[in-house]
Amino acid sequence: MGGVLPASSGGALSRPMRLVRLVLFSDYLVLALTVLYVAALWFAVPEIISPTNLNDIFLQVLPLFVAAMGLMMVLLVAQIDLSATSIMAMSCVVGASIMTSQGGYLAGHALAPVAAVLAIVAIGLLIGVLNGVCTIVFDIPSFLVTLVTMMFFSGAAIWYTAAHTNSGSSIGALPSSFLAIGYGGIAGIPYAALITVGLAIIVHLMLTRTVFGRWVRAVGLNPSAAAISGVPVKRVVIGCFALSGLFAAFAAVIYTARLEAGTPILGQRILLDVIGAAVIGGVSLFGGKGSVIGVLIGVLFLSAVDNGLQLLGLSLSSVYAIKGGVILLAAVVDAIRHHLLARG
């Protein structure tokens, strides 16, 4: 309940008001915006709707989508995770160092990729749990905790890379069986896509069809009410951070496979994209509100914007400004929603 709202007139809403609300509250508002945007660019760069380009967008969406789903989990319990991208960096360089054919720990071993993926996932999970535990047990605001883990692990990743390469900013020469995740696929559907869709379905079911999902929302909406109703609030919050780390790791797997290298600056610059995508997708920063579909739409929107700007070959400044504006726009819409809701 931030501040004192203006005394509400109450009473019934006018029809135009109702219309506005209808538009605002539909989850597909952003989707509509996306279509609008693509249409707007179509006259300038017809290529934007070419099948191959749409396919490119689709592929670009995947890792971002996975990471954003992870972030959604922490946002749902009204926390934040700034370390998601550092988790990607750290886990992917370690994974790469295991399987690279240039002096990797398991270089050439048939199961090296498996071991690497396991390592990546494990590291993601560990850092996630670490975030959760520090937030809950040490009672440090998650903003700070994850800020620290962000600094620490991005630094550690660079150090690790330097220690594992003679003079290079990344670890390449990864086994093709691993890279297959990037380009290979079944019946034209890339493995990356299959993994992502699988994860998406799991998260969706988890949120809508399991006790844990209900608990997550409850904690986000009202922690004390949840606690009194027998929800293990602390464990739920830690669980969400763990999931955030886990999904960051999955994203790292996909990125690494696509980049064919483990690089410590992986995702360094996409933290804002991840948060932005979630928020644009209707995930509330105050907890409790958010859905997989929404996040997917949010990610699609951002990627479409990006892709459009790339096709135009626009300057960095426009890219920055437009993206910032887009995030602000989404936040404003979210705020208007809250106000209308408060009016009842």
Binding site: G2, G3, D139, I140, F143, F286, K323, L328, A331
Partner: protein
């Protein structure tokens, strides 16, 4: 009562925990490098931490009312660009007020969204961080922006053997300290931070106060930019990139709470100096550069942990409140 007092003592002890941390650091570095513990070196440390310190002071105002400003890094770059491209002709007497205005104006934009639409300051400033840098890059065409000689001279000249950067920071610090402790406005900031709703009930104009602190933060970011850019002489496209993190870290290190209502000017300065001391010490030791972020983040973590403990203690010491009925 007695137990309560001993708790209060423990609280005071906790308040000074960061200071102990600092002393410990100095001892360690001093032991490892004979050149570390010299007056000249501490002058360097101060000079190098001023721009973060000044920005942290501004950030403190925002944190005190439970807000946060992520856009300071972009303000820094925007101001540096403006200084180099448009204000280079002006004498400092004119250009400094000008950039302070620019910074304050940027803060006002943030404030409009925060107070007007009640959007979380985190997300607002996240967006303006983007927009601000984008706009600045648009002005600079991402080229390196060189500063006028007047600015560069300011950066290296000193008064009474103390660099101007330190004087400026000191001036800002005093102004901020007086504002926070000696004016009604300052005390009301603390009240708003402690509990916005009660503050409104107690007849305080909450929204204007929240608005103003964002302007102050913007202005401080501008001054920080002036100091930094005068020291390095030119601003590349990456100038001030992700500067918000060390700034917030400095404030929190200094004991400012992210939950509002507690914190102070000197704490924030102290935080900035602490971080810079670590960096300086590591250079003095000729330490592996890769260690810097690791050591820094660990120190921040310790400080944050202390902050958490302190908050718990405060809650315990506080009497049980009458349950507020919404």
């Amino acid at each position: 009562m007695n137990g309560l007092n001993s708790r209060a003592l423990a609280l005071i002890a906790l308040r000074f925990a960061p200071l102990m941390l600092f002393v410990a650091l100095c001892i360690v570095f001093g032991a490892l490098s004979d050149r570390f513990l010299s007056l000249a070196n501490f002058r360097n440390i101060l000079a190098q931490s001023t721009h973060v310190a000044v920005m942290a002071i501004g950030m403190t105002f925002v944190l005190l009312v439970r807000g946060v400003d992520l856009s300071v890094g972009s303000v820094m770059y925007l101001v540096a660009v403006a200084m180099g491209l448009y204000l280079s002709g002006l004498p400092l007497a004119l250009s400094i007020p000008a950039i302070v205005l620019i910074g304050a104006a940027f803060g006002a934009v943030n404030a409009c969204f925060v107070t007007g639409l009640r959007i979380a300051s985190f997300i607002v400033t996240l967006a303006t961080l983007f927009i601000g840098r984008g706009f600045a890059l648009y002005l600079s065409e991402t080229k390196m922006v060189f500063q006028s000689d007047t600015v560069q001279t300011l950066g290296r000249s000193s008064f009474l053997a103390i660099p101007w950067a330190i004087w400026i920071a000191a001036a800002v610090a005093c102004a901020a300290w007086v504002t926070l402790t000696q004016t009604p406005y300052g005390r009301q900031i603390y009240a708003v931070g402690a509990d916005p709703d009660s503050a409104a009930k107690a007849g305080i104009r909450v929204q204007p106060i929240v608005f103003s602190v964002f302007c102050i933060c913007g202005a401080c970011a501008a001054i920080g930019a002036l100091i930094s850019v005068s020291q390095v002489g030119a601003a590349a496209a990456t100038f001030g990139y992700q500067e918000e993190f060390p700034v917030i870290a400095a404030a929190v290190l200094g004991g400012t709470s992210l939950f509002g209502g507690r914190g102070g000017v000197f704490g924030s300065i102290f935080g900035a100096v602490l971080v810079q001391t670590t960096a300086n010490g590591l250079v003095m030791l000729n330490a592996d550069p890769y260690l810097y972020p690791l050591v820094n983040s660990l120190i921040i973590f310790i400080a944050a942990w202390v902050d958490g403990r302190r908050r718990l203690m405060t809650e315990r010491i506080e009497q049980r409140k009458i349950r507020v009925e919404a």
